[in-house]
Amino acid sequence: MSLYTRFPGGIHPHEGVNGKSATSVLPITETLPPSRVSIPMQQHIGAPAKPLVQKGDHVKMGMKIGEPAGFVSSAIHSSVSGTVVDVAPCVLASGLQADCVIIDNDFKDEWVELHPFENPEALDAAALSALARDMGLVGLGGATFPYSVKLMPPKVKIDTLIVNGAECEPYLSADHQLMLIKAKEIIEGTRRMQKAMGIEKVFIGIEKNKPDAIALMTKLCEDDPTFTVVALPVVYPQGGEKQLVYAITKRRVRTGGLPLEKGVLVVNVGSCYALYRAIYEGMPLIDRVVTVGGSVTKPANYLVRIGTPVQFLLDASQGLLPQARMMIYGGPMMGMAINRTDIPVTKGCSGITVLEKALMNSPETACIRCGRCVDVCPMYLCPSDIDKAMRKGWYDEAEKLGAMNCLECGACSWSCPAKRALTQSCRTCKKVIGDKQRAQRQQKAEAK
């Protein structure tokens, strides 16, 4: 295998107070469960789940409260035991409202009966996929793609499984800490996927800034020749799916395509652990590790029940520091700035990052065509040109420039000396062009 494990482009972002160096040494602590959780019915890409409970119902921990509706969808489970207060729309991190099941915790932590698999060795892809759908397993790296779809019996030959432990996003250490305490479980979950899908090689990709995790994983993989731990260079966005696939296998995922086409399956370490628990403990996905970092009094990595409000985590970290100016749901590069603290933690939330005043951006000036955005773009795009096309409303031109391939990593905006919001321009283009393409497809379908 090539030792030169790099993808083209990328950046090395600087961090403010309590960045990765501070959070990466904090072991995972369990927070007390909150008195009330609001669990959104959509915590995954695809169709929202259909609520199975009503106001006044009593629910147990791990009880299915949302039924997957559609092929690309996933089940939702209760993270506490208690009484359903309401099924109503709540504001989520995106600023949009979506249906949530709001449950008052009775603090009894009564579990539903769990059914571990009796013979995990015999699991095949179809059974894994059904299990993932039932247990609400989605990609925990942030994209929240349902694993029921990812683990479908493959139509093409898959020869490589990549476990994504890169965690390139600044400030976040949730995956890092999980790898340290649940390494065996992660490897076991991965092995079940490997066997079920008939995959030959497994690579566990971890950035070099987590030497303890690399050492531990390497030690545990020693006696399995099909497993290789790859120490990746520390470059953002190393954890991007296409970037990771290229860095490890040198295969280029087709624009608009999935790694599957190239015989590669990419899974997140957190998802591997969730899969392990689903198989061996019969446990649905009801909690996850969340890093609270940046300008908070006590940064930490928490094991958080899904549906816990952000305010609860901030209280656990003893509040914001005086210089805090921005609260982000997720990491600082790809996360969303939020302005309220009643937003619930969902399956895709890997961190709450608080940034201080000194890190805020300055006003934008004219583009000087320096080309830094072109140099850092991992997708070989020309963000400055897409930005100019967007500002003129030339969306067709933006489409020709490949705007749809943007993965919104933010490297262009980060490196821009004129401080232009290049990533946001690409997002706008993707939205407008995507809407247009959908409308065209619909028209075509109607014409038929």
Binding site: K242, A324, M333, A337, L355, Y380
Partner: protein
């Protein structure tokens, strides 16, 4: 929560180490050795030209933006760079008003009328130099002998007209004279030593990319090697590679003019094409035209071609594959 929080689209981290102002400041820093060399070789008149050019460039930008009710962007320091580069393209005996006129032309005609910073289609300083050359050919003749270490030119020197290293039949300069800058010429283009110092600084600070200077100088070197077959020899006069590389405006052009972000291609391959193109045009103009020196025209020509080069060197997105035949898709 008492304090107001900011909500904005991501990414929320930014590289605060780079800004337009910082880039321009770096260019000014890189030009300082050359400014010092200009004063050393050409004395007070060089200093006067630089001061006049910089002040008029800043003033032109400020007044234009005030009059047209635009936000004033003087603080980005780009006009300082333009003014300084323009002064470097003047001979030591040029009158002060020529520097002022040149700066006005560069800032208003070439830069602001086309939309200000980032919008000019030619390098402002070079375009202004070309206009001055064509309009005041006599005043722009670089025929002052350098007078190292003297504040004013010796009386006799003013009256004597001398030839620059590239004028035909005036090939009597040693390599050290050419390298250090002890030759007649525009005040900022003679000292290759100072220019290279600045160029290396810009490369280290990653303000400029290596591609344009390397391909530009490389092309000139190869072209002259093919033509003359000599790397350097005293007998060959100007007909060798080293003499040509160290003469005229080639070094300042390759490091400070052709690398101007706005008027050079944005992709790596485009930058190589720019450098090679500049080198070829420079060779053609120096060898086959009546002008002894062609650096500015070569760069200006490639400036105008830049949109075209950009158009043809756009990279395909990562993972781009030619779409398969539609017939195949229908079957599936």
């Amino acid at each position: 929560m008492q304090k107001k929080l900011i909500v904005s689209p991501g990414p929320h981290l930014h590289n605060h180490a780079v800004s337009t102002q910082r880039i321009m400041l770096d260019v000014v820093i890189a030009l300082l050795p050359t400014a010092a060399a200009a004063v050393w070789f050409f004395g007070g008149s060089a200093l006067m030209l630089m001061i006049v050019a910089v002040i008029s460039a800043i003033a032109a930008e400020y007044v234009y933006q005030k009059l047209t009710h635009q936000p004033v962007t003087v603080s980005d320091m780009s006009s300082v760079v333009t003014g300084l580069l323009l002064a470097f393209n003047l001979p030591a005996n040029a009158p002060w008003w020529l520097a002022a006129v040149g700066s006005f032309l560069a800032i208003i005609l070439i830069k602001q009328l086309f939309g200000g910073i980032g919008q000019n289609f030619m390098n402002p300083a070079l375009a202004a130099r070309a206009i001055l050359m064509l309009s005041w050919t006599g005043l722009m003749a670089a025929n002052v002998l350098p007078h190292a270490g003297q504040w004013v030119a010796p009386l006799a020197a003013d009256a004597v007209s001398v030839a620059t290293p590239l004028t035909h039949g005036a090939e009597g300069f040693t390599l050290w004279q050419l390298f250090s800058g002890d030759v007649p010429g525009m005040i900022g283009e003679t000292s290759k030593l100072a220019l290279l110092l600045g160029g290396v600084y810009l490369l280290i600070r990653k303000v400029i990319d290596w591609r344009i200077p390397v391909s530009f100088l490389g092309t000139v070197a190869i072209a002259y090697f093919i033509q003359t077959g000599t790397l350097y020899s005293v007998e060959s006069g100007a007909h060798n590679v080293l003499y040509q590389l160290l003469s005229g405006g080639l070094i300042i052009g390759a490091f400070f003019m052709a690398t101007d972000y706005v008027t050079s291609p944005i992709t790596g391959i485009g930058k190589l094409i720019m450098g090679v193109g500049c080198g070829l045009f420079l060779f053609v103009i120096r060898e086959f035209s009546s002008y002894p020196e062609g650096c500015s025209f070569a760069i200006l020509f490639l400036n105008v071609l830049t949109p075209l080069i950009d158009r043809f060197t756009t990279k395909k997105p990562f993972g781009f594959e030619k779409p398969t035949a539609p017939a195949k898709e229908a079957k599936a």
